[in-house]
């Protein structure tokens, strides 16, 4: 199988994601330049973290106009697996592939720290190797991670089990304390209705090697690999 990591101008977790996929998971991985119109036959597209176009207007707002977005949207519509991490999640929201928006963190500061998330749904291509209720120790690094959606949307998200990760305490309880950025319902990760597009604020690529303090994020990439390889 083959991963594609999209490079927007201002992406800065592109190399990190590439390193983890190629060197930790030993999978064929390629960069996808935002000005091209070519997904190079990838099985999974990762929109990495960073500051696409500097995020001066609104996080992810300009990246959605990049040429490659046309192919990415078509790929999503055909059921292709897409993972948006941090800024990649924000781009997916701007694109409307996932509902809702991101507001500034509740303390109005950039936040970089290890936090915990609880897996809410293990019946997805992104979590199938995990168990619902499992807790991951994983870093966040963002200014705009305060998830907001209308009450009607929230009802839909819950009804359709689209909430994949919630910010939690280390023991798994969903508390206000654990909700570092102020997200509605402690939402840390969401997928689309068709379950092939996932956006998440935490960085699984930063939690894929024990030397760096946690390897809990590996389960997400393992799930994707397992899902795609099982279909081949």
């Amino acid at each position: 199988m083959k991963f594609g990591v999209v490079v927007f101008p201002g992406s800065n977790c592109d190399y990190d994601t590439f390193h983890v996929l190629r060197d930790v998971f030993d999978k064929e991985t390629t960069f996808l330049w935002h000005k091209d119109h070519d997904l190079k036959n990838c099985d999974c597209i990762v929109l990495p973290g960073g500051f696409s176009y500097g995020d001066y207007l609104r996080s992810g707002a300009i990246a959605r106009f990049s040429p490659l977005i046309q192919e990415i949207t078509e790929f999503a519509q055909k059921g292709g697996i897409i993972l948006g991490i941090c800024n990649g999640f924000q781009v997916l929201l701007e694109l409307g592939l996932i509902p809702g928006v991101m507001l500034r963190n509740k303390n109005l500061k950039f936040l970089c720290q290890h936090i915990h998330i609880r897996i809410e749904n293990d019946q997805t291509p992104f979590t199938r190797s995990s168990k619902a209720g499992q807790i991951l120790k994983i870093p966040i690094a963002h200014f705009d991670g305060n998830y907001y959606a209308t009450p009607e949307t929230l009802v839909e998200l819950k009804k359709n089990d689209q909430i994949v990760f919630r910010y939690s305490d280390p023991d798994g309880s969903i508390s206000e304390m654990a909700n570092v950025n102020g997200s509605m319902e402690n939402i840390a990760g969401l997928m689309n209705l068709d379950r092939n597009v996932l956006g998440m604020m935490p960085h699984p690529e930063r939690a894929s090697e024990a030397l760096l303090g946690s390897a809990d994020g590996k389960i997400i990439f393992e799930s994707i690999i397992d899902y795609i390889e099982s279909r081949k």
Partner: protein, 736 residues
């Protein structure tokens, strides 16, 4: 007409002006005067510091590039090199905290990637006035946000640093930024303009009127005209810089360029004249071709602008097309504005006329060098002998008070605003004594630290200079790293005042002596003079950035306690040294007397022992004793443990109890060992002639310290932790 007033505005003396006339054989034009004003400013010319900086050791077997380039370079093995440098952005950060600090980060990043290195880590050393003052808090908020805004967007992690609070920085905060990059030996680039006829390209942002006379501003004291100087501060665009970084590394990787220089202080003037000077050539440029952001800019303004995110690059006629294509791919301008010439002259055309025509050597290498007068400050003898206040009645109270001092307290409020993990190399997160960065695919890892204690330097600059080096190296030794190279940022007041010059000379000589004792070369740095507002200087503040190496990243030692029952050992011996300590300032507001002294040979032995024991996997944790003394050192190890682990310690020395707990005697490290390693460690210490004392064990849920049999400090871990952790956020929450 050039008169006294115009010269004053340009920061030039009459003597300097006459020298310029002699050198260029004519009266300078207005634009030429502007050029000399910048290039002969203290900031660019080092005219007051040069003769003293020569005392620093600059050579060593690992040195690839010493001082004089954009950054220093040391060999780190396997054909890789570490490129690093520290710079100050003090003056702009006071006038406009966010942009001042942000563009400081932007500037140091360019210094590193100009040389072909990919920046992998930033650190910063910050000094502010007391947090109790709301104006100081707004400066801190602006500076921290500015550093975060720029560094985070660039995708370069801010992995560590230091912050101190002291009255002397209230009107003159210090913002020193450090950057380290990695390059392959054969892909290092220099500021060269070789090959007559080769095209000179202007890259990056358009030129505007921002930052004109930034370097001159940084070479004068501040008075009441502070607000007027705000337009001198540049505005940063980190997104543009990120594109510049990627595009520059791409043309370098493909071997398409001859030389490159960033436009930092003194902008187009400095980059063009230095590149020509380095290569013994000349440069001719046409300002009509320079991309401009504003209408009607004069040649003077274009040459002196310090607009950010710009580079000057020399390609060849063969490669220029491909170079321009790569920059176009990254949506950046790359415009040919001139070419390399014979004849060692900087020639600038505008509107069909020649507006500058001067020898580059006159601009770059002919600034007078001053051996300024120096005199020991009279006040020093007055504050030499003090009567120490009586020891406290309640040691628990004293301990918690020291832990809550902003200088000692937890800095998470600051560092969690910085992305410190991007690039996924950060093994030890901020808050550790030194930062540890893995090198992907290698066993070895890089260790970095910034250090400097201005109070010691105020009381005894020579000792303060030595301790700054020793403590930085000690931080590295604690994690098991050998120091490889030094960069320093020397922040002082007005060098035209003999008492400031004395502080400077003493400090530099102290640093030189310590660097020689540790056999580590200084590969570059920065001098920031004129840190005075309305005549009040800062305390002398050298900041040392030291880069070291750990051979096996898996053997690196962290400062947190590891296991219940581990034995706590003290390396070194505690003397009665209370003057200049955080404790005396916190409890008694005293900053007097002779600060802790240092024996460099003894220090080196303790550090070597720690490095050896780490390599042999004999120690479980190590933390150096510095500000706050032994009690704070123990507390830090308690707080850094994965699960809180308390400690039980008993100290037997017959000296004042407060000196024992809070004194800042140098050359001491607290290590813990698993019981089965105890004999081996004691043995090794004996062989290496290291004073070592068993003082207690990791145990319980309290920090419990006795003097002899007498319990003095007995505080639950949670209470101590919360005091330390919440001190800074509390001040911001309540008072903001």
């Amino acid at each position: 007409m050039i008169d006294k007033k115009l010269l004053e505005k340009h920061g030039l003396t009459f003597e300097e002006y006459n020298r310029i006339v002699d050198l260029i054989g004519k009266e300078p034009s207005y634009t030429e005067l502007g050029i000399f004003s910048l290039m002969w400013s203290e900031h660019c010319s080092y005219k007051s510091s040069k003769i003293h900086l020569k005392k620093l050791p600059v050579t060593g077997e690992n040195v690839i590039q010493g001082p004089g380039e954009n950054a220093g370079i040391i060999d780190i093995g396997d054909g890789m090199a570490a490129v690093f440098k520290i710079e100050s952005h003090n003056h702009p950060s006071f006038i406009e905290p966010y942009q001042g600090a942000a563009t400081g980060v932007g500037g140091i990043l360019r210094d590193i990637f100009t040389m072909g290195a990919r920046p992998i880590a930033l650190m910063n050393s910050l000094r502010f006035g007391p947090l109790s003052n709301s104006h100081n808090r707004s400066i801190i908020d602006g500076v921290v946000s500015g550093i975060a805004g720029y560094g985070n967007c660039m995708g370069v992690p801010t992995v560590g640093g230091e912050i101190y609070f002291h009255d002397s920085y209230a009107l003159n905060p210090l913002v020193n930024v450090f950057c380290l990059g990695i390059a392959e030996h054969d892909k290092i680039f220099y500021a060269k303009a070789e090959g007559t006829g080769n095209p000179v390209l202007y890259i990056g942002s358009k030129t505007g009127r921002d930052g004109i006379h930034g370097a001159t501003m940084a070479s004068a004291e501040f008075g009441e005209d502070l607000e007027e100087k705000r337009p001198n501060v540049q505005v940063g665009d980190p997104f543009k810089e990120k594109l510049l970084l990627e595009a520059c590394l791409e043309v370098m990787n493909k071997g398409l360029i001859v030389g490159i220089q960033d436009m930092g202080a003194a902008g187009l003037t400095c980059s063009s004249s230095e590149m020509a000077s380095n290569s013994g050539t000349g440069i001719e440029i046409n300002l009509d071709l320079v991309p401009q952001r504003e209408e009607g800019m004069t040649p003077y303004e274009i040459m002196l602008s310090e607009s950010q995110e710009r580079m000057l690059l020399v390609a060849t006629n063969k490669t220029v097309k491909e170079v321009q294509e790569i920059f176009a791919k990254w949506d950046l301008e790359a415009v040919i504005i001139g070419h390399v010439t014979d004849g060692n002259k900087l020639k600038v055309k505008a509107g069909g006329e020649i507006v500058v025509d001067v020898p580059v050597d006159a601009i770059v290498n002919s600034c007078p060098v001053y051996n300024r007068q120096s005199k020991k400050p009279a006040c020093l003898s007055r504050i030499r002998n003090i009567n120490l206040p009586a020891p406290p009645e309640d040691y628990n109270k004293a301990f918690l008070l020291v832990l809550s001092q902003p200088t000692i307290a937890n800095k998470e409020w600051v560092y969690r605003q910085y992305d410190h993990m991007v690039q996924i190399n950060t093994v030890f997160l901020p808050g550790a004594g030194a930062s540890l960065l893995r090198l992907k695919g290698k066993n070895r890892a890089l260790a970095l630290t910034l250090d400097g204690n201005a109070v010691y330097c105020y009381l005894d600059p020579r000792t303060g200079g030595k301790i700054a080096v020793a403590e930085a190296c000690r931080n590295l030794a604690c994690i098991g790293a050998r120091p490889l190279g030094v960069t320093n940022c020397l922040n002082f007041g007005n060098p035209e005042k003999p008492e400031i010059m004395w502080q400077f000379i003493e400090t530099v000589e102290g640093i030189a002596e310590a660097c020689k004792a540790f056999s580590i070369p200084v590969t570059g740095g920065n001098v920031s003079f004129y840190n005075e507002t309305e005549g009040a200087p800062i305390s002398p503040t050298p900041v040392l950035g030291i880069v070291g190496i750990v051979d096996d990243v898996h053997k690196a030692v962290s400062q947190g306690f590891k296991n219940e029952g581990d034995i706590i050992l003290l390396l070194g011996k505690t003397k009665e040294e209370l003057n200049g300590t955080v404790y005396l300032r916190a409890l008694h507001g005293k900053e007097e007397g002779i600060p802790p002294q240092i024996d460099l040979a003894a220090e080196k032995k303790v550090q070597d022992f720690c490095i050896e024991a780490a390599a042999k996997k004999l120690i479980a944790s190590a933390n150096d004793i510095s500000e706050g003394g032994l009690a704070v050192c123990l507390a830090e190890s308690v707080f850094s443990a994965e699960a809180f682990l308390g400690c039980e310690v008993s100290l037997k020395d017959s000296i004042r109890t407060d000196a024992l707990f809070f004194g800042e005697t140098q050359s001491r490290i607290i290590v813990t060992v698993e019981p089965e390693n105890l004999d081996t460690v004691l043995d090794l210490a004996g062989k290496r002639d290291i004073p070592i004392t068993r003082i207690g064990k990791v145990n319980g849920q309290k920090i419990f310290i006795r003097h002899g049999e007498k319990p003095c400090i007995e505080v639950p871990v949670a209470l101590a932790y919360n005091t330390w952790k919440n001190a800074i956020p509390k001040i911001f929450q309540i008072k903001s």
